[in-house]
Structure formats: structure tokens, C-alpha cells
């Protein structure tokens, strides 16, 4: 049952790829919403996760294909599964 759910999520494009290129760039695909963007924290939502990027001097670039990139001095990238029923 769990496997079936995974397959459905995967085929429905629910997963998003997060690419940590270096300690200065993180690329997050499938972003549904930018929640917060300041010097130390960038928080964005994907379909299943809330992604938090911590660091200093952060800046966000948003592209038209639902992809965002975070640049600056990055300390950590955190993932938190979104609760059921939380609006996308």
C-alpha cells in the first residue's frame, strides 16, 4: 500500500529535486510558494515539504518554471514534511 502511494506521488510530480551545488547555491525545483526571504532564512514550500535554508547574506532568485535558487553563505538546509490538509 505504501509502495503504491510512493508511485502515485512520484508519477504525479509531487517530489521535487533539491540540488546543493556548493555552500553558496541551493537549487529547489517544484516550489509552490515562497514563504519567507530575509538575510538569514529563506523558506519555501514544495508539494510535500517545507524547505528552510539558513545562512547569511541570502538572496533568492525565482524562475518561471517553479524553480528557485538561494544564493549567499549557506549553513544548513532543512526539510519538514508538510501536514495533511495544509494548503499548497
Amino acid at each position: 500500500m505504501k509502495n503504491l502511494k510512493e508511485v502515485l506521488i512520484n508519477t504525479g510530480g509531487m517530489y521535487s529535486y533539491i540540488t546543493i551545488t556548493s555552500d553558496s547555491t541551493v537549487m529547489i525545483e517544484g516550489c509552490t510558494q515562497i514563504v519567507e526571504c530575509n538575510e538569514v532564512l529563506v523558506k519555501v514550500l514544495t508539494k510535500l515539504f517545507s524547505v528552510e535554508v539558513w545562512g547569511s547574506g541570502l538572496a533568492l532568485n525565482s524562475f518561471s518554471n517553479s524553480t528557485v535558487s538561494v544564493t549567499g553563505s549557506i549553513c544548513s538546509v532543512g526539510l519538514e514534511r508538510r501536514k495533511a490538509g495544509e494548503p499548497l
Binding site: C31, T32, Q33, I34, V35, E36, C37, N38, E39, V44, L58, A59, L60, N61, S62, F63, S64, N65, S66
Partner: protein, 396 residues
């Protein structure tokens, strides 16, 4: 995506949440979204400017435009500078106009006479430096060139840029033909003794070994024939007369005496002062002197032409300069020895110029010095052609 430009906005960070949601909802391409000092900055393409501004107005955010960049803004900045726009337009118009003008000519021929004739004919056809290329009637000009320029058998005109190229094919040189068919005598041009004769046509009047005076007929073009026949036992003669052109080579020996005089001074051309550079402004084919006065008695150096160039193209405007050196004639006294040497040099020049067709068999000279100068008398014993052709029906 090619962006025409970018705009950077700054607004209070209390509105950043809503603006970020708007960006992510509408998938707006935004760069450098940063929050610092209570303000949020972001950069968006110029095409999306109106959309974002409407949103900012809708949420009641006060915003300001921090910077603008990109091709469109640069163009707008340039367009605001009217002088630059007018200058560019004027340049374009000037370039358009001058691209239709003839600047220079190239004639693919080595003969300077033909080149000059070709230029004259082109000038008559209105093809000259500064005239319009579109107004050229090449067919007529080519036809005129073929008709009016002697020495060419074909001419073609082509245009490359602002240069008119004239290709001509010169006539093949015709072999020389002797057109004289009048009856002529061969007469002696010197008092001489005939040493050998080769007669091809005409009647020989003087045998080898005989002396002739200047003007005496050696070979006559008026020939008489005596045909002898017998009528029974009676001898009869029939006389014929024929006019012909005398052709013969008559060689003889003769003597000639010449005297050369050299005074005790010589006239020499002396340069005075340093060379002076004179410049001309060269516009198309016109040379405008950039000086006020000139002295005609000057030695002129070869011209130096420095054309102006525009992006590698040679313009018909430039500067020509020549170096002029003043000179004067001065008389320099010379010694008797130098005078004798100069007299000998005169004799040598005379031999080179006037006696080169003869063989000098003997040469004796005597020098006589007077108060005025040196007299060199040279007695030549010569051998060579001594006859010349004279038309005998024409009074000379």
C-alpha cells in the same frame, strides 16, 4: 529568454510575504530577492513591471524603483539625448548620400596616354569624382570609350563600392609598313668615296670606288632600258623608261671636322637653402594649395599623398605634400685643364649623339687655347651609309 531590461524595486518588508506569494503564484521570474534593513528588494524583467506595480498598489505597498538596466533603458537614455540622435541620423543620411558618389577611378592599363584619354571621355560623359553612381549610363560610356579612345579595342566599366574600375584591352601593335611608293633617287649625303653598294631596285649611277659630292645621285629611280633587235640585217633599238623607288645600301668613307669650344667658366645649377614643404588639400581630383605664394624656380620632389580613411576605406580627401628646394644658376671659373676636359667631354657627347651610326676609323684632335677659352678641333675619318632617299618629282 531575452530580456529587454530589468527593474529593481524596493518596498517595506511587511509586504514581502504577500509579494512573494504573488511571485510564486504567478511564477514571475524574479532575481536577487533580499530583505535587509526592513526593506525587501527584488529585480524583475521589464515586461512584468506593470503586473508587479499593480499588485504593489493593490496591497497598498509604497515602493520605489532602485535601478533600471538593460538594452531598452540604455536605448531610452540615448533617445533622450537629442544631439546624439540627430548626429546619428545625420551620419546615416550622409553615409547614404556619399555611398552613391564616385570617389576614385582605377584604369586597368599601363599606358598613361590611354589613361588620360579614358579620363577625358569619362569626364565628357559626366562620370567624374563626386558625381552620382546611379546616374551613370555605363553602356553609353563604354561605347564612347571604344569609339573615341584610340589604342583600345574594348572597354568595360564596373563599380566596386565608390570606385569606378575601367578595364580596357589595348590594340595589338601593327607591324610597321613602309607606305612610300613614290619614285625616289638615292643621293649622297656627304662628300665621300663609295666602297660598297647593294642595289635592290633602281639604276646605279656611280660605280664602287668613285667619289661623290653631297647631293649627287648614286642610285636613280628613273630607269632607261635599251632593247636591241634586228630587222633583217638592220640593228634597231627600242627604249623604255620606268620610274621606281630606289632601294639600295651604299657604304662609303668620308671625313668630317668639328670644333668644340669651352670658355673658362661653367654655368651650374646650385640649390640654396633648406627644402621647403608645401601642402595641398586634396578633395576628389582638386588640389587646393595650403600656402599663399610659391617660387617657380624650385626643384620639386615626388608628391607624397596621405589620404583620410574611414573604417579602413580610403576617402577622396587627403593631404598632398611636396618638397621644394630653391635653386639658381651660377657661373664658376674653371682652369685651362678643366676646360680642355670639358671640351673633350663635349666631343664625346657629339660622337655619341651624331656619329653613332658610323664606324670611326680614325680620329685626330688638336687643341688651341685663347683668352676666351679652349678650342678642340677633331677630325674624324668615318665609314657608313652615305646615301639618303629623295623624291625627285617633289621640289625640295
Amino acid at each position: 529568454m531575452i530580456s529587454l531590461g530589468q527593474v529593481t524595486y524596493r518596498f517595506s518588508d511587511e509586504y514581502s510575504g504577500r509579494v512573494l506569494r504573488f511571485i510564486s503564484r504567478n511564477r514571475i521570474q524574479a532575481e536577487n530577492i533580499t530583505t535587509k534593513g526592513g526593506y525587501t528588494c527584488l529585480t524583475i524583467p521589464m515586461e512584468l513591471k506593470r503586473e508587479l506595480e499593480n499588485e504593489l498598489k493593490a496591497i497598498g505597498a509604497e515602493y520605489e524603483t532602485v535601478s533600471r538596466s538593460g538594452l531598452m533603458y540604455r536605448l531610452m537614455i540615448l533617445l533622450r539625448k537629442k544631439g546624439l540622435v540627430i548626429g546619428s541620423l545625420v551620419s546615416l543620411v550622409v553615409l547614404f548620400v556619399i555611398s552613391d558618389l564616385i570617389f576614385s577611378f582605377e584604369i586597368l592599363c599601363d599606358d598613361n596616354v590611354i589613361k588620360k584619354d579614358v579620363m577625358n571621355v569619362l569626364y565628357q560623359n559626366g562620370i567624374r569624382a563626386g558625381s552620382s553612381i546611379s546616374g551613370i549610363n555605363m553602356t553609353m560610356a563604354e561605347r564612347d570609350l571604344k569609339e573615341k579612345v584610340s589604342g583600345i579595342s574594348w572597354a568595360g566599366i564596373s563599380i566596386r563600392g565608390c570606385k569606378v574600375i575601367i578595364d580596357v584591352i589595348e590594340n595589338n601593335p601593327q607591324p610597321e609598313r613602309r607606305e612610300r611608293r613614290l619614285p625616289t633617287n638615292l643621293v649622297a649625303k656627304e662628300d665621300a668615296v663609295i666602297e660598297s653598294v647593294e642595289v635592290m631596285d633602281g639604276q646605279l649611277m656611280k660605280p664602287v670606288g668613285s667619289a661623290v659630292c653631297k647631293g649627287e645621285i648614286i642610285v636613280s629611280g628613273n630607269e632607261f632600258f635599251d632593247r636591241k633587235y634586228y630587222h633583217g640585217t638592220v640593228e634597231k633599238h627600242t627604249y623604255f623608261q620606268r620610274y621606281t623607288r630606289s632601294i639600295a645600301k651604299v657604304y662609303g668613307s668620308f671625313e668630317k671636322t668639328e670644333t668644340f669650344f669651352q670658355p673658362y667658366f661653367t654655368t651650374e645649377k646650385m640649390t640654396c637653402g633648406e627644402p621647403e614643404t608645401k601642402s595641398f588639400l586634396y578633395i576628389f581630383d582638386t588640389e587646393i594649395p595650403l600656402f599663399f605664394e610659391t617660387d617657380s624656380e624650385c626643384l620639386i620632389s615626388p608628391e607624397v599623398y596621405e589620404p583620410m580613411t574611414f573604417f579602413g576605406f580610403e576617402l577622396p580627401v587627403g593631404r598632398k605634400s611636396v618638397e621644394l628646394t630653391h635653386y639658381s644658376y651660377t657661373q664658376r671659373p674653371i682652369s685651362e685643364t678643366e676646360a680642355a676636359d670639358r671640351a673633350a667631354s663635349l666631343a664625346e657627347t657629339y660622337e655619341h649623339n651624331f656619329l653613332s651610326e658610323y664606324e670611326i676609323r680614325d680620329r685626330s684632335e688638336s687643341i688651341k687655347t685663347t683668352e676666351e677659352g679652349v678650342y678642340l678641333t677633331v677630325k674624324y675619318s668615318l665609314y657608313g651609309e652615305i646615301s639618303e632617299e629623295v623624291e625627285f618629282f617633289i621640289k625640295k
